[in-house]
Symmetry: C2
Subunit: 309 residues, 2 copies
């Protein structure tokens, strides 16, 4: 499990490559939520999401093997693009396994950063088989999107930055899918902060919530939530960290997530992806007072579907 030193080292290691993302606030949002809020803008991170942190850390930690044989992953979401970007920063190859039905915008992002795509059938088995096959052919180093300590230490740096700048934060809202961001936030807060950490999860993908309550890791399949980055179930390495260092998992309905997204647009003019809106929705739902923070985890979605007329 990452130590305080691992998180600080990750922060130093990736600093020359990533954005130290801005924080901001909104008087109107404070009126609506009842708290004194700071938003951490990871939608303004390179590649459009916090995933650049973990990917860059994992690539740098494994720099030599990455330079020799490249890195590989089978994430179709933000991690795929982030890993392609991170590999390109050190001149390494990135092999990205994507389902044949992946959105065009996700494919374009991976291509834009020079990732080498192999398409497969759109199911988990085909992804893993294809990844395993490409890995054997290339010798590339597998970097899992969240179930990986280098990734967790990298994602922890977002919370590390936020709490270094704002040590008075009492409550921190963090979206949870596979748990890379949330387990990193929980550890960063344990070592460097004094906040209560809340995982924010769609009711339609409530594995973290149910696992947290029962103490046993749960798997959710084929969720239809609009928060598409949060459909995955908690990783094996992420679950125990979350169980130990997170205060609560807050469930959000689809309507609450959509209202959080609209409210974020209205009050901050920041365009975030629906996954990030779970944090905003949880803040509006809980109406906590005092100094609060929200990790806006990313801003990647297909905007062309929104017609002005």
């Amino acid at each position: 499990m990452p130590t305080a030193q691992d998180i600080e080292s990750a922060a130093q290691r990736i600093a020359p490559f990533i954005n130290r993302t801005p924080s901001f606030s909104s008087l109107r949002f404070n009126e609506l939520s009842g708290g004194d809020y700071i938003f951490k803008g990871e939608h303004l991170q390179l590649t459009g999401a916090f995933k650049a942190r973990g990917a860059m850390n994992a690539v740098l930690v494994n720099k030599e093997s990455a330079a020799d044989s490249g890195v590989i992953t089978h994430s179709s979401g933000n991690h795929g693009a982030a890993l392609a970007w991170a590999a390109s920063q050190v001149g390494a190859k990135a092999f990205i396994i994507m389902p044949s039905n992946a959105p065009k915008s996700k494919i374009a992002a991976v291509e834009h950063y020079g990732g080498i795509i192999t398409f497969c059938e759109p199911n988990l088995e085909a992804r893993e088989t294809t990844a395993s096959k490409v890995q054997k052919e290339t010798g590339a180093h597998l970097i899992h999107p969240y179930d990986n300590y280098d990734i967790i230490a990298g994602q922890a740096t977002a919370t590390y930055e936020l709490l270094k700048d704002n040590p008075e934060i009492e409550h921190l809202f963090v979206p949870v899918g596979g748990g890379g961001l949330l387990s990193g936030a929980a550890l960063a807060n344990y070592f460097f902060g004094n906040a209560k950490i809340y995982g924010c999860e769609p009711e339609l993908a409530r594995d973290a919530h149910d696992g947290f309550l029962t103490g046993k890791r749960v798997i959710v399949n084929n969720s239809d939530t609009i928060a598409d980055g949060l459909k995955t179930s908690l990783g094996k390495k992420n679950f125990p960290i979350i169980k130990s260092y997170v205060s609560q998992i807050i469930l959000l309905t689809e309507k609450e997530i959509e209202n959080g997204w609209h409210t974020c647009l209205e009050t901050t003019k920041q365009f975030i992806e629906p996954s990030a809106a779970t944090g905003v929705a949880a803040a509006l739902k809980t109406q906590l007072t005092g100094k609060c923070g929200i990790l806006l985890c990313g801003g990647n979605m297909d905007v062309r579907k929104f017609a002005l007329r």
Copy 2:
């Protein structure tokens, strides 16, 4: 016509009240546009648009009469909300004449800032008659949304800030409706900058373009452009300034404006109103090289119409 001193005084006068809005850039946008761009984020201004600058300046210049009898305007757009907000900052009343069919979000904004609304029939004659009637009853000081030198000096401060921070800007794109922002930008640049200034206007409301070419002020009525803040025709005080100190008026189709809006969302994650997208669209259309700037004039629109599903 405002002098260099008028603009500097306005900047000092309003500084304690307004946001010194941030500037930012996007590597991806630079790739798409061919230039080296700085965005000035007036969508992050108080009240959600640059209009807070002019309204605050006009209220402060007329502080005594405003405190005695209030201020009045018949703008249904961002100026109405901005004037209500500015008046509230000095404890003055603001009378806002609004058409009975004004969007709910605009009415809510004026009410939020404590504006006293009088509704009228939705046509220019009714607006002016009603404003005149309320003005006689109250003795309030009329503050026109753009055809007013205090307003022009106030709006000029956005460009003044941008050029003070970035004196190397060679090309500056500015949306044009009534011409308050554009005439202010042109004067600020004339006194403090070295850029070419481009007015950015919808083809469906091309009065500035046609007036600029013929030398005679033109009136456009009932435009159906999506850039709803730019439907108005140039004011009498704005036209000669624009004729003298602006390099060119660039016309944008509705499709180009919508593409500019989408591209801004994708590359900067900033949520702007369609009027602001004309500047983005003009940058993409002209493909100028060198150091360029875009004034993102505002971020107010009804976001609830965008459904996530």
